[in-house]
């Protein structure tokens, strides 16, 4: 055992401290062009005219890529998992968020590429935009997404809602001494990696493409690029793994596909590095979540049931949002065991940047809501919030909303450590509590049926 428990140095430490690590922006290729994007200035508009003639004719411009150059224009980030694609790589006749790319120009310099973007002639017919997920369900709301409408409607069983049903929620509500409800809304957050989205694509003499990528998900990006370009994977070589921060924001394939298209169209290596402003305004961010929680609790501090409604703001296109909502639904009891559940979740589209992963996709905002709610319930009951949390804390063989028996839930120890670290005195009973399977006072009747098996050590 030379590695486990050893304090090893990081393998890339020397490169990182001497300026030798090669990030994508540091890749140098002879004859490399520089790219810039024309992006939508509108939140929701029809494109009635798109003319690249003047831009393409400018000195120093080598390629102007539009929707007409994309072999497969619409491909979804979850198409490989059977979720239909809804997002065109470049806008064709409709822009649905401000910052949506319409064209990419490859030129001798970035300045020429930007000037050429400004020379592309586009006529827009502006349409009313939708920004509030709660209004997406209204009959007179503008229709945001051509494929799904205003919310994703293709869950298993032809449902338009992600549902979880466990136990008997009506019986739990009837049996409750107290019902506590709350509405929690988290905002969008940009990941802000110090390295903005960047790609270098090189057409090789044998017809293959080499792509230097900042992706967090190499083989996933390979699949997305090859799908849009309709190329076998053997024709594309991705070089990556050195990422200047991602935090989830580089899970989307944001720059590789378009740079590859520009390289193929120009026949030259192309670099596309987003500006900080583009990164902030047009790259996928953590989406806002609207969460309504109704808990049925007893006066001695047990949570009998939870009814929950979640509306996830996906932005203009689906990308990974259905995955994020599903993960959210599996976690909607947080670190606590609640036997009777009724969860409805929607992925709703708005005229905002499509949202994506960021450190605990679908769960971070949820945890905020759950913990604030737990605090409120404890306060309503006049109960010590540690006691309330520890009673309901996940234990070995308690089951999650999607009926997985927990093997090593750490809620009890985390709460005990938190109390110790913040100088909170727990009573003897709470200090002695462990993660081991419920029994005695900690196994009231309502938690018996939810116990699963397969956990433990």
């Amino acid at each position: 055992m030379k590695v486990v428990g050893a304090r090893l140095p990081r393998y890339d430490g020397v490169g990182h401290v001497t300026g030798r690590t090669t990030y994508v922006d540091d890749v140098r290729v002879p004859g490399m062009l520089h790219a810039a994007a024309l992006r939508s200035p509108h939140h929701n508009a029809r494109i009635t005219r798109l003319d690249i003639g003047a831009a393409a004719a400018m000195a120093g411009v080598h390629a102007v890529v539009t929707h007409a150059d994309v072999p497969l224009l619409v491909y979804g980030h979850l198409s490989g998992a059977g979720i239909p694609g809804d997002e065109p790589l470049l806008a064709k006749d409709h822009v649905r968020y401000r910052g949506q790319p319409i064209a990419l120009v490859a030129a001798d310099t970035v300045d020429i590429a930007r000037a050429a973007c400004a020379a592309i002639e586009v006529d827009y017919e502006e349409l009313p935009a939708l920004f509030d997920v709660r209004l997406g369900f209204d009959g007179d709301a503008p229709v945001i997404n051509d494929t799904f409408g205003n919310w994703y409607d293709q869950y298993e069983g032809n449902l338009d809602v992600r549902q979880i049903r466990k136990g008997d929620i009506d019986a739990a509500m009837d049996a409750a001494d107290l019902i506590v409800s709350g509405v929690y809304r988290t905002q969008s957050v940009e990941q802000v990696p110090l390295e903005t989205q960047v790609c270098v694509a090189i057409p090789e003499p044998d017809g293959r493409l080499t792509i230097h990528t900042c992706t967090q998900a190499m083989y996933f990006s390979l699949g997305v690029v090859c799908s849009h370009l309709q190329l076998p994977m053997s024709q594309v070589k991705m070089v990556g793994g050195t990422v200047g921060g991602g935090f989830g924001g580089k899970v989307d394939t944001a720059s590789d596909t378009l740079t590859a298209l520009a390289a193929r169209k120009s026949g030259q290596p192309v670099k596309w590095r987003w500006t900080r402003e583009e990164e902030m305004l047009a790259s996928g961010n953590r989406g806002p979540w609207h969460m309504e929680i109704i808990d049925a609790v007893t006066s001695d501090g047990w949570i009998l049931g939870r009814k929950m409604l979640t509306i996830h703001d996906a932005g203009a296109y689906g990308r990974f949002s259905v995955y994020g909502l599903t993960k959210h639904s599996f976690h909607h009891t947080g670190a606590y065991s609640i036997p009777n559940l009724h969860f409805d979740g929607y992925v709703v589209f708005t005229n905002k940047i499509p949202t994506t992963a960021m450190r605990g996709y679908g769960v971070t905002g949820l945890s905020t809501a759950i913990e604030v709610h737990a605090e409120r319930v404890a306060r309503e009951l006049g109960m010590d919030p540690y006691e309330f949390r520890l009673k309901n804390a996940n234990r070995v063989n308690d089951t999650s909303p999607n009926r997985i028996a927990y093997e090593d839930p750490s809620t009890v120890e985390v709460l005990q450590s938190l109390a110790a670290a913040t100088g909170v005195e727990l009573g003897d009973g709470l200090r002695a509590m462990t993660r081991e399977q419920r029994s005695g006072d900690m196994l009231p009747d309502h938690l018996v049926a939810q116990i699963g098996s397969g956990g433990g050590h």
């Binding site: 050893a6 304090r7 090893l8 140095p9 990081r10 890339d12 430490g13 020397v14 490169g15 990182h16 401290v17 001497t18 300026g19 030798r20 690590t21 090669t22 990030y23 922006d25 540091d26 140098r28 990941q191 802000v192 990696p193 110090l194 390295e195 903005t196 990422v243 200047g244 921060g245 935090f247 590095r273 500006t275 900080r276 090593d408 750490s410 120890e413 450590s417 110790a420 670290a421 462990t434 993660r435 081991e436 050590h457």
Partner: protein
């Protein structure tokens, strides 16, 4: 325009209003200064100009005739690391590494100017640098260790003074 970059005299051809960042990266192919924001906000492009840390993205070439510019490449090599570089390895102060070059340059100026091991002082000296990975704790520890005069073993990673290990009951089995 004449510049000395990492002890090498250079004649630079870029137009006078070109940023030093662009001159270094695009004309001289010195890529350690990073284009994080190109507006002076993040610190990833920091270099030393005549020994003082400067945002290379905000520094116009025409202000630099005859100046001495030092990037992290000029502070030490993989075979001969500076003490600040050694400390960043030993204290695991670099994660993705994108902000690291600018931080090492600024920390070198801080320690070279007689900066103390007080983390408040270090924090003030490095306040213009964003790091999105580390949470800054290990960066502060690394710079404090240099200011204290510690020696560094780059073949291992130091334990953090701020780490508290909690034994989890039942997790040993």
């Amino acid at each position: 325009m004449e510049l000395t970059v990492n002890s090498v005299s250079c004649t630079v051809q870029s137009p006078p209003l070109t940023s030093l960042l662009t001159v270094l990266r695009e004309e001289l192919d010195i890529t350690s200064p990073k284009a994080g924001c190109e507006s002076g906000g993040c610190g990833a492009c920091t270099v030393l100009v005549d020994g003082q840390p400067r945002r290379s993205c905000l520094t116009a070439l025409c202000t630099l005739d005859g100046s001495e510019v030092t990037t992290v490449e000029g502070l030490g090599t993989p075979e001969d690391l500076s003490r600040v570089q050694q400390a960043f390895i030993h204290h695991y102060a670099a994660q993705c590494g994108f902000c690291t070059d600018g931080l090492i340059v600024a920390a070198t100026a801080y320690v070279g100017g007689g900066g103390s091991a007080d983390t408040g002082d270090i924090g003030e000296a490095l306040a213009g640098h964003y790091c999105r990975c580390t949470g800054y704790v290990k960066i502060l520890e690394a710079v404090a260790a240099v200011a204290r005069g510690d020696t560094f073993d780059t073949a291992s990673t130091a334990s953090s003074a701020n780490n508290t290990y909690v034994t989890i009951a039942g997790a040993e089995s």
